[in-house]
Structures are given as structure tokens and as C-alpha cells.
């Protein structure tokens, strides 16, 4: 009974949720998304929080698009719902340099004034572990719902980070390009064919999660000793690596090229805003998509550890998981998420998900990326 009520509510409100969602450009929380500062009361709220014992306050730090996308984003809904159920207020902080802001604070010995971070990925975790001896986060255990997280999404071997959603990076292509009849190749090797010359738009791996995921996907396919040769051919076939997701997607929509590296949830937005779906076809190269999970964790120095744990549990709850997935246009992290049936119609999951483990990345990712940068930027 309860469940049915919920589904009906989603039916009414869900449409708006999906329609709006892609604030940061449906990039599900990457550094692609434009972020900026601008939370009103972060600083004030944190410092005075302890002086007001009546309502405890939880400072949740995240990326800008999570709370402030031009349409809707999960943040406001999350805050409102959480506050209505718990005797607490949520304050959002959205530092422009995201997790680097807190790494910097720790390095410079400045106090950290947030309790929870939402929007962590494996790259960020590696940066934290490389730069800070003590880390920023504590292991999270006894969070109910943690056991429901899908196999393979947990990216922190030390259990500090709890995944809350995931995206899959794939190609999006335009069937109607240049009069119609365009089809993206089915394999990575197919991208090297001359008929696809100048047809692919990708992104700078530094500062863009789609660009980074695509690069890692080529390494997974071609191997650490083969990906540079592959990219040499890709570059010879005139692939364009632009600044970030937003620039490349703008160019794609202006029909500068018929293929762009993007997310497999692309049609969710396109269908809701009434766009021609022929221009938003999904291609999983080699039948694979690169998984890009996002996680959350509790800052070591939090003065609200219990409230923070409750927040994490709240986010993993089946109804909240479904809501976040729709509002962030990503897949839920748990197997128990409640989603309307039409969600699966437009959000495409790959036959096979590919990803590197934390350990593989920690030892290699800087080297791989820098070698790629040097090769690609050689004039």
C-alpha cells in the first residue's frame, strides 16, 4: 500500500524531475559540470552550529550541479525530505574546486567545516590518499542499506566511501546526421575506419569525467602498452578532444560531428524535452560501458557522526535511491531502488560494465594520463 502511494507520487512529480534534471549536463556529477561557489550560510552555519543546540546541523559538501542545476537537481528535494523526517537542518557547501578544496585545507592545516561529502569518485579518492597521510574520511560501517549496493560499484578498498549512484559512459550518436542513415561503429576498432574521420567528439581527461572514463575504457580494451598506438590512429582519424562535456555536447548539438562521448542516460532528458530521439542514439562500443560510480562519505572531524550516518542511510533507502537516480539522471547504486517502469526505457544500461579497480588506478592513472597528454599535445 505504502509502495503504491509512493509510485503515484512519483508519477506526478517524477516527470518534472526527469525533465529538469540534467543540470550539470547530465554528467552525473563530474567535474564537467559547471560549479561555482555561492552557498549563503556555509561558513556562518558551521561555526554557529554548535551554539544552537535545538536543531543539529549537517553540512553537506557537494558539486554545484547537485544542488543548483538550472532545472532541478537532487539537492533541494533531499534537503527538504531529510529535514521533514529528521530533527536536523542540512546546509550545502559547494566549493568550486570540489574535493581538492578540502585536500588543500588539510594540507594547509586549516579546519574542515563540513560533515559529509557527496560526489566522490575514484580519482578523487586516489588524490586524497596520495597527498594526505591521514586521509579525509573515516571508514563507514553499520550503515544499513550498504549491503544493497550493487556488486562492482564499491571503489574504496578501505570502505570509507559508499556509492549512491552510477553512470555509464558510452557514445551518443546522431542517426539523422547529414541527411540521415548514420550509424556509429560497434567496436573501438571501427572508430578508426576512414568513414568515421572527424566524426567523434571527446573530452579532456583532466577535468572531465566522461573524457577520463573514455580514456580508461580504451586502456581497458587496448592494454597499457597498446592504448597510445590506438590513440595515435584515433588522432589521425581526426578525433576532437575538447575542453569538457559541456563544450563537446554543444558542438554535438550544433551538428559539428555525429558522435560524442557522453552518458548512456542521454535519452532520458531528450525524450522528456521532446527532442528527436534519432539524434540521441546510444552505442556501447564492444558492448561495454565504462562505469562511473559516485560515492559519499563522512569527514573524519565531523561533530555530528550519528546524524551523518543517518544521512547516508537515508540516501540508500529504496525510495530515496529512486528519487536521486531520476533527479540526477543516473542509475541507482542499490539493487533495491524503487523506480518507475519507464525509467528503464530511456536509461540504457550496457550489456557489460567495465571499470578499473582502485589499486590498478592508484598505481597507474597519472602515468597513463600524462603519457596520453604528451602524445596528444605533441605538435
Amino acid at each position: 500500500m505504502k509502495r503504491r502511494t509512493f509510485l503515484r507520487t512519483v508519477g506526478a512529480g517524477g516527470a518534472a524531475g526527469i525533465a529538469g534534471c540534467l543540470g550539470g549536463g547530465g554528467d552525473g556529477g563530474s567535474t564537467d559540470g559547471p560549479t561555482a561557489s555561492g552557498t549563503d550560510e556555509t561558513a556562518a552555519g558551521t561555526t554557529t552550529g554548535t551554539a544552537e543546540p535545538s536543531t543539529p546541523e549537517l553540512v553537506v559538501s557537494t558539486y554545484g550541479a547537485f544542488v543548483d542545476a538550472p532545472s532541478t537537481s537532487p539537492g533541494p528535494w533531499l534537503k527538504e525530505t531529510f529535514e521533514s523526517e529528521f530533527d536536523a537542518t542540512i546546509e550545502f557547501a559547494t566549493p568550486d574546486s570540489e574535493i581538492n578544496y578540502y585536500i588543500e585545507r588539510a594540507l594547509q592545516g586549516a579546519e574542515i567545516d563540513a560533515d559529509v561529502y557527496v560526489g566522490l569518485n575514484v580519482d578523487m579518492l586516489i588524490r586524497i590518499d596520495e597527498r594526505l597521510d591521514d586521509g579525509l574520511f573515516v571508514p563507514v560501517d553499520d550503515v544499513s542499506g550498504q549491503g544493497d549496493v550493487k556488486e562492482g560499484l564499491n571503489f574504496d578498498p578501505e570502505g570509507r566511501i559508499v556509492p549512491y549512484d552510477t553512470s555509464y559512459v558510452s557514445l551518443v550518436y546522431n542517426e539523422a546526421f547529414d541527411g540521415g542513415g548514420f550509424a556509429a561503429p560497434e567496436t573501438f576498432d571501427g572508430l578508426l575506419e576512414s568513414e568515421y574521420e572527424g566524426d567523434l567528439l571527446a573530452q579532456n581527461p583532466t577535468g572531465s569525467s566522461t573524457g577520463k572514463s573514455f580514456l580508461l575504457h580504451t586502456i581497458a580494451e587496448k592494454g597499457a602498452d597498446g592504448y597510445l598506438d590506438y590513440w595515435e590512429e584515433l588522432q589521425a582519424n581526426d578525433v576532437r578532444v575538447l575542453a569538457d562535456w559541456s563544450t563537446s555536447y554543444t558542438a554535438y548539438e550544433n551538428e559539428e560531428a555525429p558522435m560524442v562521448v557522453s552518458y548512456s542516460t542521454d535519452q532520458v532528458y531528450a525524450s522528456q524535452s521532446g527532442e528527436d530521439l534519432a539524434k540521441h542514439q546510444i552505442r556501447f562500443l564492444n558492448d561495454q560501458g565504462y562505469a562511473y560510480p559516485e560515492g559519499m562519505s563522512v569527514f573524519e572531524g565531523t561533530d555530528e557522526p550519528e546524524l551523518a550516518r543517518q544521512f547516508l542511510e537515508f540516501v540508500l533507502r529504496p525510495d530515496v535511491q529512486g528519487e536521486i537516480a531520476q533527479r540526477n539522471v543516473a542509475f541507482p547504486a542499490t539493487t533495491t531502488a524503487e523506480l518507475p517502469e519507464e525509467f528503464a526505457e530511456y536509461a540504457k544500461a550496457p550489456p557489460e560494465a567495465v571499470t578499473f579497480t582502485y589499486d590498478e588506478l592508484r598505481d597507474n592513472v597519472s602515468e597513463w594520463t600524462q603519457a596520453w597528454e604528451r602524445q596528444f599535445a605533441s605538435k
Binding site: D40, N204, A251
Partner: protein, 551 residues
């Protein structure tokens, strides 16, 4: 005072980053810098290419800017002043807006190709090439060249030309001997600033060119993003050294080429529609018309595309929904979201604040550096450092130096919020005031000040009553630039506005960027409208000051 502001919001923060290039694990080392300088990849592929594209961009900006200066300073037509005020607009355009406008104008299916196809010409492939980057850099910097040159041209004394003519010089000869020597320093300053700017260009390069055309700044960003500070700092140190070296070289040239202007009675302007159609008059008008077409493509096209995008709905029809979004966000936005009105109000407050701080700072520096003393050019070059240092590095430095605070006797001293933003903007802006004023000041006859002083005027009084009115065109141009720099600044603002309500219009533009470009472009158009109006007001006001002072 100027020195203190510079120290707190510039030299100290930047030093906190640069120190990483020479100290690793607390020990002094030259390893990071040596490794950059001994890398063929960095030297040739990155620094060499960065300088090459900056050079091309400078040439393009000068070629595109000079005809503009000629028209603005030598012709009279309706709306000339407004047009002159608006030339500064490209300067405040957020780079994402320029990228959107350029794709729409110069892309495969862009306006330009539409026009070319319509008149039977083959389409051009401009995007994601070096050419696209160079044109975008000219979009930003040609107005700069035009502005400083116009200011110098308008300060050319007509009686000097008349004297030359009465002594038998042909118009060409009079131009070459009288006008040109006074214009060259201005052109040189425009070119130098353009080179320094485009040398540190970042968002435009990756948005319109692609990673294969990566510049130094792309690598600095990448290293800082990955917290590889030693390498980032080493790259930034080398980049700054090159930019400052060039500035120093220019300043020595500026010192040598002081002309001897006598005050300002501007030359009469021609009418755009000539009284009689001589071959020469017709030739000039054809040139103007051709230039108008280029301006239409390079400047009006991208801006118009942006306006159009802000008015286009998902189905392609015209709509006001994106502006309604701004209204709605204003009314219902939560406190942790960015709202349009505070962004507009902050931008204007910071702009005015910057103008009020940067103009005196810049003028004082100009007076100081037009005096002759040993090492003048070196000091002058150091004072110009704020625009030679990578914006990314300044941002990180401000985070470390000001936002996190410094331990002073056990208390953490932090500087954030409005005052810090204004100070940071003023530091970025005052070199423009100096560079607009110094060449004109250098052209003044020193006997003017000497006479005033011998009649009992103090140095300040002589400056305010005698010199400033004579270089009013430069002061007003500098003030407009100061305002523009403040409005357009992003890197420092976003860092200093952290955790406060000090966000500005460009920050709001970034924040509203989504899969649909409507909301961000609508905010971008608001930015353009607000700044256009401000420029017209600044220059009307400044123009009156100039006229009152002139004689």
C-alpha cells in the same frame, strides 16, 4: 598603500604557489624548473607553440583593431561614442559564451557558412583549428588594441599637424612624422597586452581548438587538478618569466620613444558620408564598408548567436522561458543557490569598487614610472605582473593565502568576501589604467608641470589640474578597462566568494550552464546588457570630465 594591496592580494598568494617550484619537501631545489627547461616536449611543443599562437593572435588583433581605431578617432557619425563605449564588450564575455557564439557562427552549420553558401561560395571548416583560436583571441583583444590606439589618436594635437602642413609636409608626411610617433606606443602597448593575455589563454584553446593544440595553461591546469604542485609551479614560473620579460622589453621601448606632445586640441573629424566623392574619399569609404563586414562576422555574429540561443526553446521556436527561469530562480531560489539579482548587484558593486581603487593606483604608478630613474623598467614590469601570472595559479594562491588564512600570533587571519574580491579585481585591473595613462603622460611636455610647480602648485595639484585633464582620454579608457576587468573576472572571484553571497554574473553564467544552453545564455545576455549600459554611463561621465579639462 598600493604596495600593501599588491602584497596581500597578489605577491604573497602567488608566492605560496611558486614556492613549490623551488622547495620540495622543505628543501630548496631547482629540479622542477630544470626538468621543465630540459624537456623538449615542454620547450618546443608547449612553450614554443604557445608563443606561436600568441604571436598570430597578436598580429590578428592588431590588424583587426587598427581600422577600428582609425574610424573611431577620425570620423564623426551618429552613435560614435556609444559604439566606442561598446567596443569593450568582448572583454567581459565569459569564455563559455564566446565558445557557444563561435560554434553557432563559424561552425559547419553556422551563420557564416549559411551566408557563404547563399552567395554561391564554398563553405569553410573553421572550428577546432588554430584559426578558430586566433579569431577568438582577436575577438577578445582587437577591441583592446582599438581602444588604446583611439585614446592616443584622440590626444594628437591638431596644431602640430597644421604646423607640419604649413611647413610644406604632405598629408602622408605629416601623418608619418607627427601622428605615427604618437600612435606607435599605443599600438605597442595593445600588442604587448594581447600577447601576454593570449600566452596564458586557457578555456578558449580547448573549447575551439582541442587538446592537440594545448598551450602551457592547459598543462598548468592539469597539474594543479592532480595536485602535482611542483610541476605546475615550475611551468607557471617559466610562463610568468616569459611574459614579464616581454613586458620589460616593451617598457624599455616605451621609455625610449617618448614623443613631445604639447597638449590636446583634437583634429577635426571627417563625416562618414563625405561632402564630395573624390577617389580618395571613396576609397576610404570602401575600406570602412569592408571592415564593417568583418566586424559583423567576428563581433556581431557570435554575440547575436548568443542572444538568439537565449531566446530559443527546445523545439527551435522563439521563447522567453529562459528569462522566466531567471525570474523564477530569483523568486524561489534557495539561499544555497545562485540568484540573478545578487549576482548583478555584486558585479556592479565590485565593478565600481574596482574602478575607484584601480584608477588612483594605476595613475600613481603611471606617474611614478614616467619619471627617469635606474631600474625604472624593471619596477614597472614587476608592477605589471598581475596579468602575467596564470589565473589558475592566482586562484590557488588566493585560496591558500587568503581564504584559509594565515596564522599570525596564534590567530588565523582570513580575508574573504567583498573587500577581498574588490582588492583582487583592482590588482588585476590597475595595470590597464597605468598602461593607458603612462604613454600619454610620457608625451606631455615636462615644462608644463615645472611651470605649475614654480607658480606654487603642489605635485598632486599639478597632477590633478594640469596633467590629468590632458590625458583624460587615457584615464577614462583605463577606468572603463578597470570596470570591465572586474565584471569579467572569474578565477579569483569564484575562490574568494566561497561560502558567502559574493558571487557575480560570470559565476552565475557558469552555474546555469546545463544540457540546454538557454539559462546560461540568458544570464550571459543580462551580463552584456548590464555592462553595456554601465560602459555608456562611465564614458559619458568620463567624457564630460575630459571636455571640461581640455582647452
Amino acid at each position: 598603500m598600493t604596495a600593501l594591496v599588491l602584497l596581500v592580494v597578489f605577491y604573497y598568494p602567488v608566492a605560496t604557489v611558486f614556492v613549490d617550484a623551488v622547495f620540495v619537501d622543505g628543501r630548496p631545489t631547482v629540479e622542477p624548473i630544470v626538468s621543465v627547461l630540459s624537456s623538449r616536449f615542454y620547450l618546443v611543443d608547449i612553450f614554443g607553440f604557445t608563443a606561436y599562437q600568441a604571436l598570430l593572435s597578436t598580429v590578428a588583433s592588431v590588424l583587426l583593431g587598427l581600422p577600428g581605431a582609425w574610424i573611431l578617432s577620425r570620423f564623426e557619425f551618429r552613435g560614435r561614442r556609444t559604439l566606442r563605449s561598446l567596443t569593450i564588450l568582448p572583454f567581459v564575455m565569459p569564455s563559455i559564451m564566446v565558445a557557444i557564439g563561435f560554434v553557432a557562427t563559424f561552425g559547419r552549420n553556422g551563420t557564416l557558412n549559411g551566408v557563404l553558401t547563399a552567395i554561391g561560395l564554398p563553405p569553410v571548416e573553421l572550428l577546432f583549428t588554430l584559426e578558430a583560436i586566433v579569431i577568438a583571441h582577436a575577438f577578445y583583444n582587437a577591441p583592446l588594441v582599438a581602444r588604446v590606439t583611439t585614446a592616443a589618436w584622440e590626444s594628437v594635437d591638431a596644431s602640430a599637424i597644421e604646423t607640419a602642413r604649413s611647413l610644406g609636409a604632405s598629408p602622408t608626411r605629416a601623418f608619418r612624422d607627427v601622428v605615427l610617433p604618437q600612435l606607435l606606443p599605443a599600438v605597442a602597448v595593445g600588442a604587448t597586452l594581447t600577447f601576454v593575455f593570449t600566452f596564458a589563454s586557457f578555456p578558449i584553446v580547448l573549447a575551439l581548438g582541442g587538446f592537440q593544440l594545448a598551450t602551457v595553461e592547459v598543462f598548468i591546469y592539469s597539474r594543479i587538478q592532480n595536485l602535482a604542485y611542483a610541476e605546475a609551479a615550475a611551468l607557471a614560473v617559466v610562463e610568468t618569466a616569459i611574459s614579464l620579460g616581454l613586458t620589460y622589453w616593451y617598457l624599455r621601448y616605451e621609455g625610449r620613444t617618448r614623443g613631445s606632445g604639447q597638449g590636446a586640441r583634437p583634429q577635426p573629424r571627417y563625416s562618414l558620408w563625405p561632402g564630395s566623392w573624390t577617389a580618395k574619399a571613396a576609397g576610404a569609404r570602401i575600406t570602412i564598408a569592408a571592415y564593417g563586414l568583418v566586424v559583423l562576422a567576428v563581433f556581431v555574429g557570435p554575440i547575436a548567436s548568443m542572444v538568439l540561443t537565449s531566446l530559443t526553446g527546445p523545439g527551435g521556436g522563439l521563447t522567453l522561458e529562459h528569462y522566466l527561469f531567471l525570474l523564477e530562480r530569483q523568486q524561489t531560489g534557495a539561499s544555497y543557490q545562485v540568484r540573478p539579482l545578487p549576482a548583478i548587484a555584486n558585479s556592479l558593486r565590485f565593478g565600481v569598487g574596482t574602478l575607484l581603487v584601480a584608477v588612483p593606483m594605476g595613475v600613481v604608478m603611471a606617474v611614478l614610472t614616467t619619471r627617469e630613474f635606474r631600474g625604472r623598467a624593471a619596477i614597472d614590469a614587476l608592477a605589471m605582473a598581475p596579468f602575467a601570472v596564470s589565473g589558475i595559479v592566482v586562484g590557488l594562491g588566493l585560496l591558500r593565502g587568503l581564504v584559509f588564512g594565515v596564522d599570525v600570533f596564534g590567530t588565523r587571519v582570513q580575508v574573504t568576501g567583498a573587500i577581498a574580491v574588490v582588492a583582487a579585481h583592482a590588482v588585476g585591473a590597475y595595470p590597464f589604467v597605468t598602461r593607458n595613462v603612462a604613454p600619454l603622460l610620457g608625451n606631455l611636455d615636462p615644462r608644463l608641470v615645472e611651470s605649475a610647480r614654480s607658480l606654487g602648485a603642489s605635485r598632486v595639484r599639478a597632477l590633478v589640474d594640469i596633467e590629468l585633464p590632458l590625458v583624460a582620454a587615457g584615464v577614462v579608457a583605463g577606468a572603463a578597462f578597470a570596470f570591465a576587468i572586474s565584471i569579467g573576472e572569474f578565477d579569483s572571484t569564484v575562490v574568494l566568494a566561497e561560502g558567502s553571497t559574493s558571487y557575480t554574473m560570470p559565476v552565475a553564467v557558469e552555474r546555469y550552464l546545463g544540457r540546454r544552453l538557454g539559462p546560461a545564455t540568458a544570464m550571459g545576455c543580462v551580463l552584456l546588457a548590464v555592462t553595456s549600459l554601465s560602459f555608456v554611463i562611465i564614458e559619458r561621465f568620463g567624457g564630460r570630465y575630459g571636455e571640461r579639462g581640455g582647452f
